[in-house]
Amino acid sequence: MIESRHERRFVHLVLLGASMIALYPFVSILLLALNPPGKRVSGFTIPSTISFENFTLAWQRGNFAQALFSSAVVAVTVVAASVAFSILAGYAFATMRFPLRNTLFVILLAGLMLPYEALIVPLYFDFRSLGLLDSRWAVILPQIGFSVSFGTFWMRTAFWAQSGGALVEAAQLDGANTWDILRRVLLPVSGPAVMSLSALLFLFAWNDFLLALVLLPQNEAAQTAPLALSFFAGLRRGGEPSTIAAAALLVAFPVLIVYIFMQRRFIQGITTGATKG
């Protein structure tokens, strides 16, 4: 490849600049949060003494212990159920023949285009009449309903990559039933696909805000972390920005951890997908 040194340097500088822009807002609230609360901060100030007091304050005043726990319960339940159901459905679509197979698949896929902003109004009133409003189920159940479209497509593709191979055929010849083939043959080799799906669904579930805002309007104990953050940031508007910054970091922390460990998988999942078709 022909390349000039100037060109190389220039491209790297552009990427470096873009990376700084990508990280700056996050870094700026980190710096802000590390100041002692009440200190007047402006602009690019780097804290002279590092204080974690903002985090303590946010934790106490913003109900974040409760909220992070609630978010974790919601996210784990949503991921576990969605992944399990997606594995089952994806497996059927990938390996079995049955009437209406394509029709059913297209219907399920159409769910990917469904904005849940459009469903939030009926969901609110449906759950109100069922008495589920303000319970964690009110956000868990719809999230599972929205996630299975994506999950089923994902698992079907993953199983497809496997089920054309000799493994499944050999098992079929051995007279294994469908359940055994899934459990003993396909699942053991589909670990990475299941992990990627879980990570993505965790991200969606953790970051959800609108469902929680509408469907958990009154129950503080069930509030998820993004919801608690928005209340905390809203009530104190014009108040203590450094404490709000600390609260935001508390909410972002679990997602960042998952991202750091699963980063490659996220990016791979998105890019390999886009290159197909």
């Binding site: 873009a18 402006s42 994902w154 497809w160 191979g165 990475p192 990627s196």
Partner: protein, 322 residues
């Protein structure tokens, strides 16, 4: 070999399912052949049950509600298409719809253009630390939008870093309360959208560019193509598939935008940053006009459907003529 992460966020929207049933590219895919297996329905049951109850049923209910006038308590009154008429005549709702269209420029057009330029530059040289750049640039896409909103509210604050920086370089006459400014509130919000979607778009394009055979660039250069010609002759056509996916994802994000507005501006100042999803929220909790909220939801859904189909249609047509 174990291939993980084969599926994309939105790839299913692309032709495979439209042009099914056979996938000739896949080698030995015997899978669903042989006899019919009714047990399949048992495997589908849980997923479809949840999908039917929590996605399809609310959708039907939304359609129904959109034809009624209802305050959430008293009896529902059938009003036909009145709510839809309101959507297109009420200045407040129209402002919200129009804003969401403007946001497409910031969420989709801008990041795609910038990413294309950067990726076009990258195509010509070997990048050191490619994966590190990718990982860092992707961070804004994964953060909760509520956190993003809090961070940018600080950046844009009257005494925040942006104004501080502007003052520092002598542009103090530019600095202002960005999110409270009637002219700049919407573009400021839009730039946050650009910041969020750029990482996703960049990652898609960077992966696409890596697959372009370097011989193409070499022969372009032998033909005397300069950087710009090379970009339009080689890079851009090769990225058509990635651009399709990027458009679908980013336009969807633009039209659905709620979290940023709710935390950053609540639609203000005035109705300057009002968006459809914000209005849906208001219709339940403030205005108490449930039918109107449902109607806006239906419109929003149709809008997204139209955009998706338009992009896909354009893509398929392009493929045929290519």
């Amino acid at each position: 070999m174990q291939r993980d992460g084969l599926a994309p966020t939105r790839a299913p929207l692309r032709p495979p399912q439209l042009s099914r049933p056979s996938r000739p590219a896949r080698p030995v895919r015997r899978g669903p052949s042989g006899r019919v297996q009714p047990v399949a329905y048992l495997y589908l049951l849980p997923a479809f049950a949840f999908f039917a109850v929590f996605a399809v049923a609310p959708l039907v209910h939304a359609f129904k509600l959109s034809f009624y006038e209802w305050n959430g308590i008293t009896d529902q009154v059938w009003v036909g298409l009145d709510n839809y008429v309101t959507v297109f005549t009420d200045p407040h709702v129209r402002a919200a719809l129009w804003n969401s269209v403007i946001l497409i420029v910031f969420y989709a057009v801008l990041p795609i253009c910038v990413a294309l330029v950067i990726v076009g530059l990258m195509a010509r040289v070997r990048i050191r630390g490619r994966t590190a750049f990718r990982a860092v640039l992707f961070v804004p896409t994964i953060l909760p939008l509520t956190v993003v909103a809090v961070a940018w509210r600080w950046v844009y604050a009257p005494d925040g870093p942006l104004n501080f920086g502007l003052d520092l370089i002598g542009l103090d006459f530019v600095s202002r309360a960005w999110l409270g400014d009637f002219t700049f509130a919407l573009p400021s919000m839009g730039m946050v959208g650009t910041w969020v979607t750029f990482g996703l778009v960049f990652v898609l394009f960077a992966a696409g560019v890596q697959k372009i055979p370097s011989q193409l660039y070499e022969s372009a250069r032998i033909d005397g193509a300069n950087m710009v010609r090379e970009f339009f002759a080689v890079t851009l056509p090769a990225l058509r598939g990635e651009i399709t996916v990027a458009l679908i994802l980013t336009v969807t994000a633009a039209l659905r935008n709620f979290d940023l507005v709710f935390v950053m501006t609540r639609g203000g100042p005035g109705t300057n940053t009002e968006v459809p999803s914000m209005f849906i929220y208001r219709s339940v909790f403030q205005i108490r006009s449930i039918g109107l909220g449902a109607a806006i939801g239906v419109i929003l859904m149709l809008e997204l459907l139209a955009v998706n189909l338009a992009v896909l249609w354009y893509r398929r047509r392009g493929d045929l003529s290519a």
